[in-house]
Every structure is written in C-alpha cells, then in structure tokens.
C-alpha cells in the first residue's frame, strides 16, 4: 500500500523543551494508526503538526507525495476530532456539522443531503436542533466526529476522542469508531494514552516517549515482542526485573539478581544486543502452583504471597521471591482465593521470557 502521510525528520521544540525529536514515520492509505504514549510524550504535538495547528521546527510532512509542511490548516482538508470536541457552542448540531461544507461553498441542497446522511450515520438525527451544551458527553463526541468527516477528508485525526467519556461508553465507542472508519474508508491517525484503545482498534501502533518514537508495530507484535522495557511496561502489565545474560553450556540463560536461580530463555525471545537488560514476563504467562511442581524445562521460582487483590474475574497476586523480587501474577478467580502469607510456586515457559534493552 502507498504511504499517504509521511513525516520526514520532524523536530519540534517549544522554547528549550523538545516536544518531538527526529520523527520519521509513514502512515498507509486506509490504515488505522495509533500514537500511544504517556502525557508529554509528543503524540498530540505530532498530530497537531499534521493538522497544521503547530509548525515543525525542522523536517518535512508530506500528504499524497505533496509537501504540506507550510500549508495553512484550512487548505489541508484533514478532519480533526479535538480532545474536548471544540464544538461551536453558539451553533446547533446541524449547523456545527454543516460548518465545513459552508466554508467550502457547497450548494445548499448538497449541504442538506450530506448533513442528513452523516447525522443519521451517527444516530444524531433527533438532536439536529439542539445546542452542544444540551447534549450528553457521548452525543457531543458523535457530533465532533460527524463534523470532522462530513466533508469527506481522506485523513481523519483523533486526539484522545474517548478520554472524556465514562468507561462503559468508552468500550462501546471503540467498536463504533473502528467500524465507522471501515465504512468511510479513511486513513486514521489516533492519539491516546490508553493501551486498551490502542490494542483494540489499531492496524499499527507507534509508541512514543519523551518526543521519540520507540517502536512501530501491529498490536499483537508489539504486545508479544516489545522493543524495550518502556514499551513492555506501558503496553500491558508486565513483570520487569534487571537481568544479565550468561551463556552456560551454550544455551541461553539470564542471571536475575532478585530471583533465586537462573532463568532460561528461548533464543527467539532474546531481543537485547547488550549483555545487561531487563527480563520481562507478562503476568498471564505465569502458572501458579500451591505445591512444588515437577522438574521440567519451564522456569520456576517460589515465594510468599504478600497481597492478593480480588478483581471479580481474577485475583492479582503479589508474590515476594526469596531473593527480593516482587512478582505480579493474574490468577483466575475460579482457582479460588490465595492465602496471604502462603508459599506458592510460579512456572513459566522460556519462550514467554523476554530479554529486552532498558529504556525509560
């Protein structure tokens, strides 16, 4: 597929503070691309540079092979859903949605048709005469969305569009947004700090921290093969322990100071060039045993349960290894409550043990 949006060596500073550092990224036509990162990571700045609301300090941005680095926002033909929607409070829902069409001097009949289409698509037909302040948060969100794609932009940007909604609505809107994108066949650049949103909707995720793009990959690849410890920690829960690589008997193993005993890893999950790095295991990869398991190829540690947090469908168990590591494990609620203070054994497979470079 062709790359519709290309960032080439983009830097952006606000005064002394670098917001985005040497960003190179291509987004494909029709792709749902998510920039994921903590606040201050530069993801919103990146999105706003593409929209033309911030100008890059250096570097170039291309859309459809045309340089648009210095194009004013109104000429870019990009739809943007703002974080707090930025609906025009003095206009009705219909007028808000008609605004971009009026600015394009679309004919009145065309405006009516398109606005009606989009309002029914977003289930807002009954609210066309309401003012934004007369709508619930979810409805406002849909107006913002409708206004951003009514003029059929080929690129749609969304800046934490679900951040202001409550949890149930957010889960529901994830599915809605994704199916809408597929229906209108737009390229989407989505910005969020919510890992679940990123995993659930994206074709590819780019993870950012301190202005740098750390890894770009499809959701499952990023979850299973994070590029470094920051990505592992930010995307999904994980147990991270400092480790050193040793190669006894030719096989691949890690020395983990906080764990008693050596940890076996698979060569395929050894993703660190250095000899010092971080051992990472996802909590759901652990198997919890209340008696010592038999000898096998799996890694095994034992420890005392420090805390057990009930979460309905499962328990979060915090196990303190004899050498000091604190390990968080998910245990299905069906397995029964686990007594605080009891000794438990953990096993996990070498292929589920990642060895990653350190990054903050």
């Amino acid at each position: 597929m062709a790359e519709q949006v290309v960032f080439k060596g983009i830097n952006k500073s606000f005064g002394d503070a670098a917001a985005v550092v040497d960003l190179n990224l291509g987004i494909e036509k029709g792709e749902f691309f998510t920039l994921l990162g903590p606040s201050g990571s530069g993801k919103t700045t990146t999105l706003r540079m593409l929209a033309g609301l911030e100008s890059a300090t250096s570097g170039e941005i291309e859309i459809d092979n045309e340089l648009i680095t210095h194009t004013v926002p109104e000429k870019r033909n990009i739809g943007l859903v703002f974080q707090h929607y930025a609906l025009f409070p003095h206009m009705t829902v219909a007028d808000n949605v008609a605004f971009p069409l009026k600015m394009r001097r679309t004919s009145k009949t065309d405006i009516t048709t398109k606005v009606n289409d989009v309002l029914s698509m977003t289930q807002l037909s009954d609210y066309r005469k309401r003012y934004p302040r007369e709508l619930s948060g979810g409805q406002q969100q849909r107006v913002a969305l409708a206004r951003a794609f009514v003029f059929s932009p080929s690129i749609l940007l969304m800046d934490e569009p679900l951040g202001a909604l409550d949890r149930n609505l957010r889960d529901h809107m994830r599915l809605e947004l994704k199916s809408l994108q597929q229906r209108i066949d737009a390229t989407v650049l989505y910005v969020t700090h919510d890992q679940d949103e990123a995993l659930a909707m994206s074709d590819r995720i780019g993870i950012m921290n301190n202005g740098r793009l750390l890894q770009v990959a499809p959701p499952n690849e990023m979850y299973e093969r994070p590029a470094n410890s920051f990505v592992a920690k930010f995307l999904g829960d994980s147990v991270c322990l400092p480790a050193t690589r040793s190669r006894p008997n030719g096989s691949c193993a890690l020395e983990v100071e906080q764990l008693s005993g050596r940890v076996r890893i698979d060569p395929s999950t050894n993703l660190c060039d250095d000899d010092t790095g971080v051992m990472v295991v996802r909590p759901e990869k652990f198997v919890l045993h209340n008696s010592e398991p038999g000898v096998s190829d799996d890694n095994c540690v034992s420890g005392v349960v420090e805390a057990s947090v009930y979460l309905g469908s499962d328990h979060q168990v915090y196990l303190r290894d004899d050498s000091g590591a604190r390990i968080q494990v998910s245990s299905p609620a069906a397995a029964g409550a686990i007594d605080v203070g009891s000794r438990q054994w953990l096993t996990w497979r070498p292929t589920d043990t990642l060895f990653l470079p350190v990054a903050d």
Binding site: A51, G52, I78, A86, P89, R133
Partner: protein, 280 residues
Amino acid sequence: MTGMEKAFRWGLRILVWAILAFLVIPILIVIAESFNGVNYLAFPLKGVSLNAYRKFFSDSSWVDATLNSVRIAVVAALIATTIGTLAAWALARTKNRSKGIVYGILYSPVIMPLIVLAISYYAVFSRLQLIGEWVAVSVAYSVMGIPFVLVAVSSALQHFDPELENAARTLGAGPVRTLWKITLPRLTSAIGAGAVFAFVTAFDEAVIILFVAGSGSVTLPRKLWDSVRYDLDPTLAVAGTVLIVVSVGLFLLAELYSAVRDRRRTRALAAATELEGSDG
C-alpha cells in the same frame, strides 16, 4: 448555625442596609425634586407636578445639551468599542513581551486623575484650537472608554477556548472568517457591556468638559454645572434624573440581556445534566 454566626450575619445585614440608605436616599431626593410642584427646590416636596419636565423639554438649550451629550457619547463609544475589542483580541493572541505594557497604557485612563487629564487636554486642545470641537471631545472620551471595553473583552477571551478557532481552521475557515463566525459571536455580551460603560462614561463626564467644552460642545453635565451655579430649580433635578435614567437604564438593559442568556444557558445545562446525571 451558632449564635456568633447569627450575630455576625445580622451585623452585616444592618451595615448593608445603612450603606444602601446612604447611597439611595440622596439619589431618590434628586429624582423626587424633579416632580416638585413649585419652581424652587423644597424638601419635603410641595405638591407633585410635571412642570419641571415640561420646562426642560421645551427649553432648547437643555434639549440641545442632551442631544449633544448623546452625539458625543455615541461616537466615543463606537471608537472605544472598536479599538478596545481589536486591542483585546490582538493582545490575547500575541506572546510579545511588550504585551503587558501596551495593556497597562490602554488601561491607564481609568487610574489617571480626571482633573489632571482635564488640564492636560485643555493645554493640548487650546494649542491645537480644538476647544469646543465636539469630535475632539468624543476622541478624548473614547480614550477613557477603551479600558472598560478592553477589560470586558479580555476577560471574555480568557474564557474563550482557542481550540474553537483551531477547529474552525481545520474545518476550512480562513482567519478572517474564523474571527467573524466563531470568535466575535462568543464576545457579543462582553463587547456590549464594554460599549455601555464607554457610552455612560462619556455621557456623564463632568470634569474634562468644564475645561474643553468652549461654547461649541455644551453637554448635559456641563449645562447642569453651569445652571447649578446660577439658580437652583426643579429643572436641574430633571436634568439629573435624565442622566440617572440613561446611565442606569442602559446598564440594566445590558445586565438583563446577559441574565436572559445565562438563564437560557443554565436551563440547557440542567437539561444536559439530567441526561447524564450529576455527581452524587
């Protein structure tokens, strides 16, 4: 509520009423005098009549002074509103360091002693032979009206979400259409309030005009001042009442307008809150 709190509240209530009385009674006396039945000031009133009003509105010198005041104040308010609004908008959008200084200078007429302003305008106007020119008076008054517009519009702009302008831009509106369609409609209340203040300031002003009116631009306060020195009669009370009614009336209209807007907004908010439930 403890006993002490109650005592405190009662003390406050009495104080507020005392102040109200101190302010309201003198004003009420002026208004009352305008309906006096005899052609000299007397309190308590000797009968009630509209004689003084008849006299006021049939005396062309009073009517001319009133119209002159209106003309000067309208022009001053227009200038002050235009400049004050543009300045507030420009200052809100710039990050220049001199911003504070420009704001301070535009704001300074409010804190300048009127009598000094009067003397200095007199010095400049007499040198430029502008004494008695009503346009010059309007311009001088517009400078005094700018701070009110500036403060009102700046404060409205502080509550104005700049993302709305950004949204308009991404949706295809250029900067001028954005200003016209998005920014200005959100500022009407503030601009209106500033304009009323600028108008009333110019309409009521009574110090500068003593120095620069000459014979060509006698305003209502100036005429009132001149008359008060020669004879005290109920016509003066009518002039005073006209000044009060115009000033307070305009102000109340502006208040009423934004109160109606607010109520509409509150009602809408209540409706929206019902949709989502407010926090428990």
